[in-house]
């Protein structure tokens, strides 16, 4: 019986899709997303090297809405400013606000979520009702109100978007904490005499923010879209500072007239950037799913 008979080789079983390949596509997604974002980040970081015009510099020759070519790679906009240069500098604003807003939302949401989820009881009820209230609030109205209240600078917009997003994180983290706090290792740490803060910081929090790490990139993309929406409603970054959403909405009228260059490039930049975040998020999600299985 020691003779090994070379049998027919079968690859895979008919039932059950390819579990292994998930991870691979997840990695492709993550890599693509990260790659896109890296390129965009580099481009906006080195904006001064990549463009000869300042973002708010008006072409003294007075050529507004000049077609691409010549002195202006992507032409000029209605104010006579260089579209390419604005495109690059706008990225700083967009990426900066999105990332800062989401980071702030994560921190705020996590704190609320951990406190609510861990302590439970009336504190949980109160905090959750509070997040309910803010979640039930229409996104745009809340963002608009905050922007109107604080004024429309980049920092204030980030605050507005962070406030809009924080409740979701609070819920996410809370749900996770409620599971984690009943897990054995938390009990173990408790019987070992760990203090509450230590317990939360060293044991509960690190194990509760996994989903947050997956959602955050997706949310960054979404934050950029929200910012664009606010700009479209005239409540984004005030002129003349460049921001993709504002550039798009300023240029929508031009597209109809066949002057694509004022709004298509920022549109694509926004699309690509949000897509980068989405791919990253989706990929992370897929990899997280695989680890869970």
């Amino acid at each position: 019986m020691t003779v090994m008979r070379i049998g027919r080789r079968r690859r895979g079983a008919p039932a059950g899709p390819a579990a292994d390949r998930d991870g691979r596509f997840g990695t492709v997604l993550v890599a693509t997303g990260a790659g896109i974002l890296a390129v965009v980040a580099l481009a906006v970081l080195f904006a001064p090297l990549l463009s000869s015009w300042g973002p708010n510099e008006i072409d003294p020759d007075g050529s507004t809405l000049a077609a691409p070519g010549g002195a202006h790679l992507f032409g000029t906009d209605v104010n006579g400013m260089d579209v390419w240069s604005r495109l690059l500098y706008a990225g700083r604003v967009d990426l900066g606000i999105a990332v800062a807003a989401v980071a702030a939302a994560v921190v705020l949401g996590s704190i609320l979520g951990v406190v609510a989820g861990y302590f439970g009881g009336w504190l949980d009820d109160a905090l959750m009702r509070l997040t309910d209230i803010f979640q039930a609030f229409p996104t745009f109205i809340l963002a608009l109100a905050v922007a109107a209240l604080l004024g429309s600078g980049p920092v204030n917009l980030a605050v507005a978007i962070a406030l809009v997003n924080a409740p979701a994180y609070a819920r996410l983290v809370r749900a996770e904490v409620r599971t984690v706090r009943d897990l054995t290792f938390v009990d173990a740490a408790r019987t070992s005499g760990a203090s509450t803060i230590g317990l939360l910081w060293r044991h509960v929090l690190p194990n509760s923010i996994t989903p947050v790490r997956v959602i955050a990139p997706l949310n960054c993309g979404w934050a950029m879209l929200t910012l664009a929406g606010l700009s479209f409603l005239g409540l984004g970054i005030p002129v003349p500072d460049a921001e993709w959403g504002a550039m798009i909405s300023l240029g929508t009228g031009d597209v109809v007239a066949g002057r694509w260059w004022t709004s298509v490039p920022p549109g694509i930049a926004l699309l690509v950037c949000v897509l980068g975040f989405s791919l990253l998020g989706e990929g992370l999600q897929e990899r997280a799913d695989r680890v869970r299985r």
Partner: protein, 515 residues
């Protein structure tokens, strides 16, 4: 054009399309101009659905027909004439004017309407103060078709003021809906459009669409030429342009300047163009640092790129203005504003103020593309002179609030006065405490001229006064006067009869479209 209009108006009804489609940018804020808010769309509609007793005449200038603010003619009224002292004005109503309810318009309606306006303490009540009408008792019914207005003092403005204020409600119908709590039927008028004007509102879908039908109960001259007008709300300018090009609308009232430029060469579309009274300026608060220093104001006046603005923002379609008094207003003088773009002079002026650099915010309306572009240009040039401007777009409520508080150092204003007269301009914009005096301007000599103008009825004498006004303004520079953009209206080629409204409010009765 004028010639085209005469042919189409004389043509038989068969050639005319019975429905005219107009796109506007926003829905009217309300139907009740006494008690609640109104905007340009609303004011335009009021002109067409309220019976206004008198209105501007029409004249032809440079081939286009425009409203003549200097000839004011009775329309729904038979006549509107003063007594010798110009204090008591007698309004004689036209007989047979019918509201949609079938009620005939009578003196009682006029009385009720004016009582209502006084009670509302808003719009008209405020305007009437300039001609010395402050109490309901000053409006007296003489007989069914005659009403007298007893002014406290004679005024050269009466005709102009009444042209924008003498509108009448169907009081018989209104009283049916009045209650003790709501004696002026506010609730009913909020929901139900007024009737009796050139057009009646036959359908109004809130936010979306309004359908006007010609009022066949109007017996006077120049009745509406088109049976039905459909006004649809299309907020996005690009959409209006697309629809106009596709022929889905006949008139695009909310097209953007950029589109208008393109539409001039579009097939099937024509851009009606004419000079307008609309004046664009930057008002500088003369009581707020740094603009409390006249030299700083001069610096900004020199640092403003007038020609570049006309070229870039208005596509060359604007008239350079040389006075705070608008072009075409009686008394306009070139000497009123001797400032031109000159950075060196700007720097010198700033130096004269003892400064090398200053900073301020520049306020303008959110969502107003024109103002935004203008602000960007001014910011860019002013910086060269050492004036750092922070652009601050404000939403309507905040703008109104801050204007009310008079705490805006620098703001862009654009618009036309409802009354084409310097006295009115002074009253609203330059005397101390005037509502539109965002510059917080005050000058004893101006106050004095203003007082004097009340009782000065003779045109030549008035022009004398206005010349003085402009000399003072040239010295004080409360405003950076930028330009007067032309009025441009893209319409389908089939549209005819358009009369350019100098007050910005379209008179739809003149318009028709061939099928």
């Amino acid at each position: 054009s004028g010639s085209k209009d005469s042919t189409s108006s004389s043509a038989s009804g068969g050639a005319k399309s019975s429905t005219l489609k107009i796109a506007v940018s926003s829905y009217i804020s309300s139907w009740d101009q006494d008690f609640v808010g109104f905007d340009l769309t609303a004011l335009m509609l009021y002109k067409n659905v309220f019976p206004y007793m008198i209105d501007y005449g029409v004249k032809t200038v440079g081939g286009s027909r425009i409203l003549d603010t200097e000839t004011i003619m009775p329309t729904f009224a038979e006549s509107f004439e003063p007594d010798a002292a110009q204090k008591v004005w007698t309004l004689k109503l036209r007989k047979g004017v019918k509201f949609a309810s079938g009620n005939e318009m009578k003196a009682a309606d006029v009385k009720w309407s004016k009582d209502r306006a006084f009670a509302a303490q808003a719009n008209v009540a405020g305007i009437y103060r300039t001609i010395g009408l402050t109490k309901p008792e000053q409006v007296v019914v003489v007989d069914d078709y005659t009403v007298e207005f007893h002014q406290e003092f004679p005024s050269a403005l009466t005709r102009q003021i009444q042209a924008i204020s003498l509108y009448v409600f169907d009081s018989v119908e209104a009283k049916k809906h009045a209650t003790d709590a709501d004696p002026w039927a506010k609730e009913w008028f909020a929901k139900n459009p007024p009737t009796g004007g050139y057009f009646n509102v036959t359908k109004a879908t809130q936010g979306q669409e309004i359908e006007l039908t010609a009022n066949d109960g109007y017996p006077g001259p120049e009745p509406a030429k088109t049976k039905t007008i459909r006004i649809s709300v299309v907020p996005a300018a690009a959409n209006q342009r697309l629809q106009l090009q596709a022929g889905d609308i006949d008139i695009a009232l909310g097209a953007s300047p950029r589109d208008i430029k393109d539409l001039k060469s579009a097939a099937g579309v024509e851009v009606l163009s004419s000079a307008s009274n609309k004046q664009v300026a930057i008002q500088m608060s003369t009581t707020t640092a740094p603009f409390d220093d006249v030299n700083v104001r001069k610096a900004l006046a020199y640092a403003t790129p007038y020609e570049q603005i006309i070229r870039n923002v208005y596509g060359g379609d604007a008239r350079p203005a040389k006075s705070v008094v608008p072009l075409d207003m009686p008394g306009y003088s070139e000497k009123g504003y001797p400032y031109t773009y000159d950075i060196d002079k700007a720097k010198a002026a700033l130096a004269a103020a003892g400064k090398t650099s200053i900073s301020s915010e520049l306020v303008f309306e959110t969502d107003n593309e024109e103002q935004q572009q203008l602000a960007v240009l001014v910011q860019s040039e002013a910086r060269k002179a050492g004036i750092e401007l922070k652009l601050t777009p404000l939403d309507p409520a905040t703008l109104a609030d801050r204007r009310g508080k008079k705490n805006i150092p620098l703001q862009i204003t654009s618009g036309q006065l409802w009354v084409n007269d310097v006295e009115y301009m002074l009253a609203t914009s330059f005397v101390k405490g005037a509502n539109l005096n965002y510059a917080n301007y005050s000058n004893p000599r101006i106050e004095q001229i203003y007082q004097q103008s009340h009782s000065t009825v003779d045109p030549a004498a008035r022009n004398q006064l206005w010349a003085q006004v402009q000399d003072i303004m040239a010295e004080d520079v409360p405003w950076v006067v930028i330009c007067q953009p032309n009025f441009n209206l893209p319409v389908r080629k089939s549209v005819s009869g358009w009369v350019q409204p100098m007050d910005g409010l379209a008179r739809l009765r003149f318009v028709s479209a061939s099928a």
